[in-house]
Amino acid sequence: MNMLRLLFPFAWRNLWRNRRRTLITLLVVSIGVWSILTFNSVIRAWADGSLASSLKNMTAEAQIHARGYLDQPDIAHSFAKPSGNLEKVLDGPLVAHWAPRIRVPAIVQSEYETLPVTLAGIDPGREVGVSFIGEAMAEGRNLDDASDAGVLLGRHLATRLKTEVGKRIVIMANDANGRLVERGARVEGIFAASSEMEDQFVFTGLLPARKLLHVQQQLSEIAVMTPQDIPLAKALAAMQNTAPGLDIEGWATLQPMTRGIHDLTNGFIYIWLWVMFVLIAIGVVNTQLMAVFERTREFGLLQALGFRPSWIVLEVMLEAVQIIGLGVLVGAIGALMTVTALSGGISLSGLGLSAGADFLGVTRVLYPRLDVSEFFVTVVVIWGLGVLTVLWPARRAAGFDAIEAMHSN
């Protein structure tokens, strides 16, 4: 402790013997830390936005199906509306929203075109907070309720069908008995979403869809969203325990591609962190080595005066603790200010990237945020590892032969 009290100010003064070099080191560390933390929060916003968009594209965080539905998604693989314990879990604190759906392959026909689609019978009130529908109306109106017999088409599908709001189309699908059934419906609204969603889905009320398919209380799917503070695994386990005869899966299983992209994005954050850290470390080690070699005679003198080799290591390390600590602090404050300034959202449309964002299924506005624990872990890890890299020049300084060092130029 006494030695620390002696060496701390000694190291600080040595640090500022070469102001220019110290300021350059400070700049390298600060910019490195700033870029790691800022880039991290932007990429995290990208990953979160991408995941949120994906989940809103009719996936949700979890889905409940009859066994076999995922292999053959027809009305024959349906299940009765939830009751008993499963209903209790769905209406309990582990679930924020759940939406019952009919979801079957169908054919939609206009006077010009016939196209394959997925018919989704929904309760529009239950879809709020679960899927994009309702937030994405481009023309016309949303469905009023589960008994609304009108249909909603995607913008692109409507163009391909050469139809529009107010016109009628015909929907055909296989009913519960395997017979092809059809009904005419009025286009009540056109929605705008990702091109995949616009082409794939035709929405109608849950009750008219059941009626068309000749089922009473059956459902193809229940989409589930959990509260932010509840781990998905916990909600999944609760639902699986109460309905062992149903397929209940999380989004990572249902959408392996989304999971892969999410993992890749997170991996990219760590790659960036390491690339920047290596650059910082090279800069710091280089300047510390220069500082050590410039002071070779001084380290020889210190040894002659009775400085233990471990004190020399400590002195050089303390210089690193101070300069890296200061750089990390400046970089972290800079990142905090940058992310706070950007927390209102970065509009990708404003940057001319909206088409790319739509293609990738990412939200058009990114909301960077700093995760407090991640922020502190990153800062401490960079500081700690940065100081450790200086162990090498520090050991070099401690290893000088006193006489040779004092006779060096």
């Binding site: 000694f10 003064r13 003198l301 005066l305 009775g306 080799p309 004092m406």
Partner: protein, 230 residues
């Protein structure tokens, strides 16, 4: 008088390419407490090597050195560092001071490493600076004082740790005659007053004339060892 340093049959060889240079060839010499000794000789005679071995900065190829009864050859690196810190003071030809510390801090530095409390070491450092005639320069950095003043600070620092011996390697080599005379007078005075043994390696006749015992080395061997009458 008691023996403070004892050198027994010291041999030091250096390998230079394929040639072995014999810097010391069986030097046996003792130094008593309170002596003021010069070790002189031509360049390459081995005087600096002998001083470095006594100061535990170099290891002899063979032979043994005892400082205050402790054999240096049996000590670890850390123990040798502690030995230098607590028992040996050094004054070198140049580059003696730590440039980021003030004059006062340079003098305090050794006793601070020894763990002496602030008030004691500061009082002692001020007293030593007073004795070497540098009152008023306490807050100056080494670059802000002359070479002669820097050597005086080095002498004060060498004594600040209450060493058993002070080893000075060509302390006047970079000084003009006036500053040399002043430094020698100061070292003589401190030697008399403190009773600390001063061993000075030099080829400067003025330094040799100031010392009470003169040892001459030639080709790594002691050729003369003369004591002046008290």
């Amino acid at each position: 008088m008691s023996v403070i340093v004892e050198c027994r049959n010291l041999v030091k060889d250096y390998q230079q390419g394929e040639t072995v240079v014999e810097a010391l060839r069986g030097v046996s010499v003792s130094f008593e407490k309170g002596e003021f000794v010069s070790i002189s000789g031509p360049s390459g005679s081995g005087k600096s090597t002998l001083l470095h071995i006594i100061g535990s900065l170099e290891q002899p190829t063979s032979g043994e050195v005892l400082v205050d009864g402790i054999s240096l050859s049996s000590e670890s690196k850390r123990e040798l560092a502690d030995m230098r810190l607590n028992r040996i003071g050094f004054v070198f030809q140049a580059y003696n001071l730590l440039p980021v510390l003030t004059v006062l801090e340079n003098v305090e530095f050794i006793s601070q490493l020894q763990g002496v409390d602030t008030a004691t070491r500061r009082g002692q450092a001020r007293k030593l600076l007073d004795e070497v005639g540098l009152n008023g320069l306490e807050d100056r950095l080494p670059a802000q004082i002359s070479g002669g003043q820097q050597q005086r600070v080095a002498v004060a620092r060498a004594l600040a740790g209450n060493p058993a011996i002070v080893l000075a390697d060509e302390p006047t080599a970079n000084l003009d005659s006036k500053n040399s005379d002043e430094l020698l007078a100061l070292m003589s005075k401190l030697n008399r007053e403190s009773g600390v043994t001063f061993i000075v390696a030099t080829h400067d006749p003025r330094v040799i004339a100031h010392t009470r015992r003169q040892i001459t080395l030639t080709d790594g061997q002691v050729t003369t060892d003369q004591r002046q009458a008290a």
